[in-house]
């Protein structure tokens, strides 16, 4: 989904690289007919919600996720799933998952930029053939705090332990950038594409 928040070509070509087609667009009708939905994004929480709103994408997104369509959120696309963020007080998130988004605690270099490890705490086909504690590339200043422990998929250490991935039924999202995480990042997209296509 394109909502004016960053260069989505890198995500698209990652899917192409592992042999799957991905379309970039902001047409609610296309989202409605998609077999799987990816919500990437960089930038601020508030302007991203604004971008989704102005394109009429919020309702269709909620509707399709509730209908069980496989969904993958990346970076800001993870944070938007929650109810609210300290980054943009007063802005309502998608609220598809319960919890909120908070700034990384002081005492470490912020933004958190670079390679860090994801510890897998829940079985998921998204991490099929990906060893526990594999490294992925992160660029962010805020982290999600899910209200339900069962939604936590991966955790990462950076001054504190934060939730770097979530999964609840058909919704999966990660804080890192698989499209910048070399071979194992591509594997994440491949695993998601297989979930979508049933292959």
């Amino acid at each position: 989904m394109d909502y004016g928040s960053g260069n989505l070509r890198s995500v698209q070509k990652a899917f192409e690289h592992v042999g799957f087609a991905a379309e970039v667009g902001d047409d609610p009708q296309k989202v409605r007919s998609a077999a799987g939905i990816v919500l990437p994004g960089v930038g601020a929480f508030g302007s991203a919600m604004q971008g989704l709103e102005s394109r009429g994408l919020i309702e269709v997104l909620r509707e399709r996720v509730e209908a069980g369509v496989p969904f993958l959120g990346v970076c800001l696309g993870l944070q938007l799933l929650f109810e609210k963020s300290e980054e943009s007080p007063g802005v309502e998130g998608l609220g598809l998952l319960r919890g909120d988004v908070r700034r990384l605690p002081p005492g470490t270099k912020i933004p958190h930029i670079g390679w860090n490890q994801a510890e897998i705490v829940q079985d998921s086909d998204l991490f099929h053939d990906i060893p526990d504690l594999s490294a992925f590339y992160f660029v962010h200043s805020y982290v999600v705090v899910p209200a339900r422990p069962a939604d936590v998929l991966t955790i990462t250490e950076y001054g504190t332990t934060f939730v770097s991935g979530v999964e609840a039924q058909n919704v999966t999202a990660v804080q890192f950038h698989p499209e910048k995480s070399s071979t194992l990042g591509l594997k994440v997209y491949e695993n998601f594409a297989r979930r979508v296509t049933g292959g």
């Binding site: 390679w115 250490e157 950076y158």
Partner: protein
Amino acid sequence: MHLKRVIPCLDVDKGRVVKGTNFVNIRDAGDPVELAAHYDREGADELVFLDITASHEARNTIVELARRCAEELFIPFTIGGGIRSEDDVRALLRAGADKVSLNSAALKDPGLIEACALRFGSQCVVLAIDAKRVSAPGDTPRWEVFLNGGRIATGRDAIEWAQEAVARGAGEILLTSMDRDGTKDGYELELTRAVVQAVQVPVIASGGAGHLDHLTQVILETDADAVLAASIFHFGEYTIRQAKEHMAAAGLPVRL
């Protein structure tokens, strides 16, 4: 755990890699994109392309390079060299570069750092500093910022410039010792340590890598966030994999 990075640097002139022809398994090692993809496969954490093209007319080749890299690479990459304006930065980021590295343009107009950080975010603004020791042996060490490959002194103190740049919004410092660059004698530990301790952003150590021990040494002794090297990788002396295994054996957290 936050990992230390190994970053090969590619010097590019008119769209071609200047050094580095010793690869048997690459069709065209002069093609920066092919060489970069090779490093990605070998486990490089990130790449830096330094455009040394002199003529202004050939400058658009670097935007084209960013575009091609964005198509082929699945690790972050930085483009530096000859960036003059916010518009140059915008063009490179739009073409798919993850970060840009500013050097002489930021010295001429430090406001460029702020403008880019505000518009594009600190995470994509790297400040490159070429520093040379100017203090006499035995005196309190002092390093000055130099331009044009170490030929022009700016009179600016390197540590102060790093601090000012970070205050203005630089998200990372790429620190090259002009005394060590090309010598293979190892990184300038004292300079690197001084900058690491002076700023709250990651510092990439550069200049002087000649042996794998140099990579581990600079991280162990200065806590630099990343090591940048060119010739030890380009001439096939060591692979990225060997470098990272060497670092891991020394107890450093790296991605293998």
